[in-house]
């Protein structure tokens, strides 16, 4: 089975994240890491490979520096990577990113494309659905469990009250939620092996995307401005002297919340 894992490099949420002067995410301000939930996507890809054979390819659309994260994914056990890197991609919105991912998938053999459910930078949680729409492929998203039987993929899709079983034929786009598995740590052997694993770096023209379709100035949405949110006004903190509960009740009543 040919498994592609969609992995995004994002600024670490522990850092003080900023926007740059052109209103895009300032990717230099904070150390980049693998988008947290994508580690679960990578692990799910590796588990499927272990169960059904085949290869795991990491697919990333991102700047040159994303190589660091790609190496880490390879050290976890992925076989190879496809990295779409092009100055013209800078500032692309989710729709454009999905179009690039779709074209990139067109250049490889794949049965399942596994994404994370949400990236921590833009928190869109839309790329997997967009990708399925662009490709006309079945969408199996928000999965807390993935089962493959021949060309049939079944997931448990998390809902507000439980889950749905959803079934589709390959090729299908999957997204997984945190907790679906336990992402492995790269072993020393894995880290050594990753150094010689192939990373295929392609430009937009290599995969047949027109530069005029993507990037900041062609995005279908524009950020006009941004400002730091005013800090929350310091509230009142009291020590419990046996009446902490009633004090909260007083506060809630004063705010007309009870």
């Amino acid at each position: 089975m040919n498994i592609v894992v969609l992995m995004k490099q994002v600024p670490d949420t522990e850092g003080d994240r900023k926007l740059a002067a052109d209103n895009t995410v300032d990717r230099a301000a904070v150390d980049p890491v693998i988008n947290y939930i994508d580690e679960f996507a990578i692990e799910e890809g590796l588990l499927l490979k272990e169960a059904h054979g085949g290869e795991v390819t990491i697919l990333t659309v991102g700047p040159e520096r994303a190589t660091e994260s790609i190496r880490k994914a390879l050290s976890m056990g992925a076989d190879k990577a496809l990295h779409i890197s092009d100055e013209a991609i800078h500032g692309s919105d989710a729709v454009a990113t999905a179009k690039i991912l779709a074209k990139a998938l067109g250049s490889v053999e794949w049965d399942v494309a596994i994404a994370g459910s949400e990236a921590t930078d833009a928190r869109g949680a839309v790329v997997p659905a967009l990708l399925a729409e662009v490709l006309g492929a079945p969408q199996l998203t928000q999965a807390r469990k993935v089962t493959v039987d021949g060309s049939t993929v079944t997931i448990e899709r998390v809902t507000d009250t439980g889950y749905e079983k959803v079934e589709a034929q390959t090729p299908a786009v999957i997204s997984v939620v945190e907790k679906i598995n336990d992402p492995r740590y790269p072993s020393f052997k894995g880290i050594m092996a990753a150094k010689s694993k192939p990373i295929d770096v392609k430009s937009l023209s290599d995969i047949g995307v027109e530069a005029g379709e993507v990037g900041l100035s062609n995005a279908w949405t524009q950020v006009a401005s941004f400002e730091n949110a005013p800090p929350r006004e310091a509230g009142q903190v009291v020590k419990d002297e046996g009446d902490g509960g009633s004090k909260i009740a007083d506060f809630l009543a004063s705010k007309k919340l009870i």
Partner: protein
């Protein structure tokens, strides 16, 4: 006046508050028109409620295939309505499935997509809060019909009378739209509590509660307020409550009128999911806990004393 489409969210014939919020918000942008997408017969019980919140029209896009397949048919049905109505914008309340519907719709309409808006100005701009609400962004759709998902609790619902004129729209789901078949639907948590993602009041418990059995303290407090129940990741990881209750960066994002954090330290990843709550109350025995930096009102004390007392007080004051 141009129409503004609002996708209706309903469970068992009850329209969610978030839909009324959007019908209210839509009035800032044009004339609100509700869109009911679902199995045949879904709209019948909803019309009166929509009229009460100012829906001038109710587009009814119903088909048996909509409930049988995941996400894609809903986007097709909504696109059929949008093509017929040529609206000024489409508003959808933010939630995992709704954001996916919005995404697919935007592509079908060749239109820009903005998600998690918390406000509008008069000029077609929306405001969004990013990076754990540290930055407020103003953005605009520059192509096509703006498709905008709006965070629940961003607008206060206000009743207004609308004609709720029914407009049927025929839907035939494409083969591609039937790619992902729903073979079973499993409800794991029944119960009468409001849903976490769009509740007006949320009470969350953290590791401070000590063990799974003690979580009833949180539930009792929540029930006294008619609130939804949430948890920190520490509580989920310990297996005391299911993952669907996790509030935070890798869980549900909530933005209620009132958020009460009980025995939660307030780690940055937790804050990312609740920082935009209008009023925050915290109970924690550690005066240094970062949650107090956010709290409008905080009590430094033992949750096993303070929380039950609060539950009792609320009960008493409600009479």
């Amino acid at each position: 006046m141009a129409e503004v489409l609002v996708l209706v969210d309903a469970v068992d014939g009850n329209i969610k508050k978030a839909t009324f919020e959007l019908l209210t918000a839509a009035r800032q942008l044009g004339e609100p028109a509700a869109v009911v997408v679902g199995a045949p017969g879904t709209a019948a019980g909803l019309k009166d409620q929509l009229a009460e919140y100012g829906a001038a029209k109710v587009y009814v896009a119903e088909s048996d295939d909509i409930a049988g397949y995941s996400v894609a048919p809903k986007a097709e049905a909504l696109a059929a309505v949008a093509q017929q109505a040529s609206p000024a914008a489409v508003l959808i309340s933010s939630g995992p499935e709704n954001k996916e519907i919005a995404a697919r719709l935007a592509l079908k309409l060749d239109s820009g997509l903005l998600y998690d808006a918390v406000g509008f100005d008069g000029d077609g701009n929306v405001t969004q809060q990013i990076f754990g609400a540290a930055i407020t962004v103003t953005s605009k759709v520059s192509k096509g019909t703006p498709v905008i998902t709006v965070r629940p609790n961003s607008f206060a619902p206000e009743a207004a009378s609308g004609a709720a004129q029914e407009v049927p729209v025929s839907v035939s789901v494409s083969d591609a739209g039937k790619g992902a078949k729903i073979t079973d639907t499993v409800v794991e948590e029944k119960g009468s509590r409001p849903q976490l993602s769009d509740a007006s009041v949320v009470v969350s418990g953290g590791r401070g509660i000590g063990n799974a059995d003690n979580f009833t303290i949180i539930e009792k407090l929540a029930d006294s307020l008619g609130a939804a129940v949430g948890a920190s990741r520490a509580v989920v990881d310990a297996g005391w409550v299911p993952h669907t209750m996790q509030v935070g960066q890798t869980g549900v994002t909530v933005s209620p009128q009132l958020y009460i954090a009980v025995g939660i330290s307030g780690a940055i990843q937790h804050r990312a999911g609740m920082q935009t709550s209008k009023t925050i109350v915290a109970i924690n025995k550690d005066p240094e806990a970062p949650i107090f930096e956010l709290a409008d009102f905080g009590v430094v004390g033992d949750l096993f004393q303070v929380a039950p007392q609060l539950t009792d007080e609320i009960g008493k004051r409600k009479g």
